[in-house]
């Protein structure tokens, strides 16, 4: 007899999303989490008294509004504060700011290059077109090019129809966009060094690729297709830190009758007669369930928590060859007060948004070269935010919390990670920020430095890759995670994947979890509780 209908391994945002939809379909669902807290990489913790760190993911944008509405996350306490700007400091003491207000944005572009100000109009329309196109594929299960089932044929027909809405020219543009390096793509529009560097940054976040690597233009899209209150491309903070995303998901899940157990690490997925029968915990306890869903990345799932005889050899090979390529680090910093940035005019709103310190494509590319040599970038690309400016819940009154996402950081530097190396890595980042904020170093009260090593050990992100696997052609759509396994089903019946290493990939999006739920309910012949593709146009 079963303890539960379904057990989900890992309480990350995708695991919880998946669980919530299953519970809403009337299943008895249990989520087991190895850590003592839920959220996986969507988490906020008080690691320094009085300060709350969102110490992995740090901004909320990609999360699908369809899921937000379907799971009623607003009522469960998720509040997203729009993020209004981004900026890049220049070495010569000037800066470039990208504001949400179109008039101010244009004026700022004009200040740097009138030609680019005009090109920006073209750029925005083009990128928006691709966003809309991609968006319509996020909440759908990719077709399997190797199968002849009607559902796959229909899905291909759907995709063809989508592309058929484009003209010959647009189609070519799309293929071009999909296969281009971000730097070259932007050079079709912009000429100003700083503007080029500013807009390419988003394309290397989380990837083991450089701004001149083909395929990075798509990554830009992956970061640009997010929405806040229906504004495509807008970014936002979750009030209370990213942890409130997982808290809201968990609360919605519990409201539907689900259970979450923390401090329960799964050692293996039990299989008998080519069918998943449950999981075995580190404690030796066995939980029986007809459905087992893994929120772990594909490689971890198939190589760590499944018995070798349960995984066909070709799948095992695919799992070990799955490209993960950790390339990012993270600093979470407790500040005694707001650091000053002399380059900015007094009261500039730009400190409220993303702050970058890399102002040329060459600096970005050299940062990548360091990573290829298994070194952390001597001159890294940092995505810096001080969310405590409008979320007082994150730090004591008057104090501030800064989060710094660092690209690039190697999985394994020469001779492996040591705490001493980790601190040296952190110091390079602090020094870079210090160059633009004289009082910054003295305001630092506590720093949490996270290299791929920490990300893997604590959260279980293999190699610390934030996407649970590279977002390259060979690992997108029906190739994600591997060709033939892109429809969320594992090698044995009743076993599924719902993590970011499945379509449509990483970012706090929730789409993989929802898509996996749809497939599971389909197999169980239960009513589909997941939201349909969203359209505001």
């Amino acid at each position: 007899m079963q303890d539960y209908d379904a057990v989900i391994i890992g309480a990350g945002h995708n695991g919880l999303t998946n669980a919530a939809f299953l519970a809403r379909a009337g299943l008895r669902v249990l989520v087991v989490e190895k850590n003592d807290y839920i959220g996986g990489a969507t988490v906020s913790r008080e690691l320094h008294p009085g300060w709350k760190y969102s110490n992995c993911s740090y901004v909320c944008s990609l999360f699908r509004p369809e899921i937000y509405n379907a799971l009623d996350l607003g009522r469960h306490g998720l509040q997203v504060i729009p993020l209004v700007s981004s900026m890049t400091f220049k070495q010569d003491g000037d800066f470039f700011g990208s504001y949400q207000n179109p008039h101010i944005r244009r004026r700022e572009l004009m200040r740097h290059s009138p030609r680019d100000a005009d090109a920006a109009v073209r750029f925005d329309t083009d990128v928006m077109r691709w966003c809309r196109l991609i968006r319509s594929m996020l909440l759908r299960t990719p077709p399997d090019p190797g199968s002849f089932r009607p559902r796959d044929a229909l899905e291909f027909a759907y995709l063809l129809k989508k592309f058929h809405e484009l003209s010959e020219k647009q189609l070519c543009e799309f293929i071009r966009f999909f296969t281009m390096p971000i730097a070259e793509y932007l050079e079709n529009y912009f000429g100003n060094e700083t503007i080029l560097a500013h807009y390419s940054g988003g394309s290397i976040i989380g990837t083991g690729l450089g701004v001149y690597s083909p395929g990075t233009a798509y990554v830009l899209l992956h970061h640009a297709m997010g929405e806040v209150d229906g504004n495509i491309g807008a970014w936002g903070f979750a009030r209370g830190g990213m942890g409130s995303v997982s808290r809201a998901l968990a609360s919605s899940f519990r409201a539907a009758g689900g259970e979450v157990r923390t401090g329960a690490e799964v050692m293996r997925i039990r299989v008998s007669g080519n069918r998943a029968t449950g999981v075995e915990l580190a404690s030796g306890e066995i939980i029986r369930a007809g459905i087992v869903v893994s929120n772990l990345d594909a490689r971890r799932t198939f190589t760590r928590i499944m018995d070798e005889q349960d995984v066909p050899p070709h799948l095992l090979r695919a799992a070990t060859q799955f490209k993960i390529r950790g390339s990012s680090g993270k600093l979470n910093i407790a500040l005694d007060s707001m650091p000053s940035f002399p380059a900015l005019p007094d009261g500039s709103p730009l400190t409220l948004g993303h702050m970058h310190f890399t102002d040329t494509l060459t600096r970005l590319e050299r940062a990548y070269d360091d990573w290829k040599e298994d070194r952390w970038s001597a001159d890294p690309y940092c995505d810096t935010l001080i969310p405590s400016q409008y979320d007082p819940t994150l730090a004591p009154p008057g104090k501030h919390m800064m989060t710094v996402f660092v690209q690039y950081c190697p999985v394994e530097p020469e001779g492996g990670w040591t705490d001493e190396k980790r601190d040296r890595f952190g110091q390079t980042v602090i020094n870079q920020i210090g160059e633009y904020s004289p009082d910054f170093r003295d305001l630092v009260r506590h720093v949490e430095i996270r290299t791929p090593r920490e990300l893997e050990n604590e959260v279980g992100l293999t190699e610390g890759n934030i996407f649970q696997g590279e977002l390259t052609f060979d690992q997108l759509l029906f190739n994600r995670p591997f060709p033939g396994y892109a429809q969320y089903r594992g090698p044995v019946r009743g076993m599924y994947l719902c993590g970011s290493s499945t379509h449509p990939g990483g970012g706090v999006m929730g789409a993989p979890g929802a898509n996996a739920a749809r497939e599971i309910l389909r197999d169980l012949h239960k009513p589909d509780t997941t939201p349909a593709e969203f359209s505001d146009d």
Partner: protein, 519 residues
């Protein structure tokens, strides 16, 4: 009835010659104008002082396709593929690795690699054969596709699914967009072997083994291997070019040398002929450019005759040469330590590992010359003694990862690079320096000046994914016809790209004829 239109083909490179000949055989009256004093462009031969001759640029090549040989009757004019050459990955300790079309061998090679290699190569040859179906014709028009093209594509899809089979198709879909670095690391352990394969994926392109899309460039190159084994130019070239020239003349093509085209004559939006540098105007209803598309549109046509956005996009075409060429005249036979005389006729490569290659590529990105460049060496005189005085030799070296626009300019730095390369060669061939009678180094800039290839790029434009198929050289000119009526392209800048294949020229000619019969 036969069509007597006067067609002018600009440039007597091998693609220009192929196109001109095919047009003439279709009954057109064709004039081929060439700026240089010999036909052949980058595939020709080059004379050094003191009676030494070397392959101008292309010094290794695969045979041209059987179809081309048949259509132009090349064999009748004496074309024969050259003797097959292996690729030898040189090792400083003399532990060289020999990569042949059939297998790989060498000291210290893991048995697993030795057995994996033939299967691996066969697998990718199958992929190359399928891609090849796309190379033999103009790229498809995605919309407004005539039924014949739809059918052809569908056929290709079925080949993918059934010809390869499910597993192989999955694998093809996976690797097609990958970088060669990851693919090779998944399969092989030996650095020399991996570098030897990666070389063919990146040679001539501004790419490193880690650049996504290098599997595709490798497949494009492997496609030539379907016609026969690689051979060192001296052999092939001396039969290919004369054969092409004779075939052209035999077909009635008028070949005019030392005639540099100043601009293409445009009358009410249509190509009406060409104006030569000496001021002479030649009228023609049809103009085919074998010149780099960027040069063709920006200089020969001129932006004022083009749509503004199109003209802008032309300036965005990527393709900066990254290979320099070193020619050495030697007073004797070079001796590579650990290499027998009989092996000297092969393609010798200095690239110990993919990391080494990636590092060399890194410096080229910033306009710097790598401390240790990648070298591709041939000794053409070993095959053909007539290239040098008795008992003397010529050596031809492709020096990869050399920036076209060097930081600080080439003046003065050319010699420094030559010396660096020669001393690097000396580490593998101790007696080399003492044998050097004369040397000549062509930087990408020199290559541009001598052969007109913009920025000295072999392929008239990077062979990256976003410049392939219907995106080569750019949308609006990817099917050999251009926005200017009566003006066509036939250079390596078009689909399917560079290499001594003649395919762009052949496809262009078929397109032109097709457009004449059914516009």
């Amino acid at each position: 009835m036969t069509d007597r239109t006067v067609a002018i083909v600009i440039g007597a490179g091998h693609n220009g010659l192929v196109c001109a000949t095919s047009l003439a055989r279709a009954g057109m009256q064709v004039l081929c104008v060439e700026a240089g004093d010999v036909a052949g462009g980058m595939a020709a031969q080059h004379e050094l002082a003191g009676g030494y001759r070397v392959p101008a640029l292309a010094h290794v090549a695969y045979p041209v396709s059987a179809a081309l040989r048949r259509e132009l009757g090349l064999d009748k004019y004496g074309y024969a593929p050259g003797p097959s050459a292996d690729t030898i990955m040189l090792d400083e300790q003399g532990r060289h690795l020999v990569l042949g079309s059939s297998g790989v061998s060498g000291p210290g090679l893991a048995a697993s690699d030795e057995t994996a290699y033939p299967a691996f190569r066969q697998q990718y040859l199958r992929y190359a054969r399928i891609l090849g179906k796309l190379f033999d014709n103009k790229p498809p028009a995605l919309r407004s596709m005539p039924f014949t093209e739809k059918a052809a594509l569908a056929g290709l899809g079925l080949k993918l699914r059934f010809g390869l089979g499910r597993t192989a198709m999955y694998e093809f879909l996976r690797v097609a967009g990958m970088n060669i670095f990851d693919v090779l690391n998944d399969v092989f352990t030996d650095d020399r072997l991996k570098a030897g394969i990666a070389l063919d994926a990146v040679m001539g392109s501004a790419m490193g083994p880690r650049t996504p899309g290098t599997v595709l460039t490798w497949l494009q190159r492997l496609n030539g291997a379907l016609n026969g084994p690689l051979s060192v130019q001296s052999g092939t070239q001396e039969t290919l070019l004369p054969a092409l020239v004779q075939a052209a003349e035999g077909a009635g093509v008028e070949l005019r040398l030392n005639a540099r085209v100043e601009r293409i004559l445009i009358e009410n939006g249509c190509a009406a002929g060409v104006v030569l540098q000496d001021g002479q105007t030649i009228a023609a209803g049809l103009v085919v450019s074998g010149v780099d598309p960027r040069e063709t549109f920006s200089r020969l046509v001129g932006a004022r005759h083009l749509d503004a956005m199109f003209a802008h996009r032309v300036t965005q075409i990527r393709g900066k040469g990254v290979v320099a060429k070193l020619h050495l005249a030697l007073s004797g036979q070079p001796g590579f330590s650990g290499l027998s005389d009989s092996q000297l006729g092969n393609r010798l490569v200095v690239a110990p590992s993919m990391r080494y290659m990636e590092r060399a590529f890194n410096s080229s990105k910033y306009g710097e010359c790598p401390e240790q460049p990648v070298l591709e060496i041939t000794v053409p005189s070993w095959h053909n003694p007539s290239l040098a005085p008795a008992n003397h030799h010529v050596m031809s070296v492709n020096v990869a990862c050399i920036p076209c626009d060097l930081e600080g300019g080439w003046a003065g730095q050319r010699e420094a690079l030559a010396r660096r390369v020669i001393s690097l060669l000396g580490r593998y061939a101790p007696n080399l320096e003492s044998l050097i009678v004369d040397h000549e180094l062509l930087t990408p800039q020199d290559i541009e000046q001598r052969y007109g290839a913009v920025h000295g790029h072999w392929h008239h434009g990077e062979l990256s994914m976003h410049q392939s198929f219907m995106l080569r050289p750019l949308h609006g000119a990817s099917r050999y016809d251009t926005p200017v009526a009566g003006l066509f392209l036939c250079s390596a800048g078009c689909h399917p790209g560079g290499g001594l294949t003649g395919l762009p020229g052949r496809n262009a000619a078929r397109r032109i004829i097709e457009r004449r019969t059914a516009p």
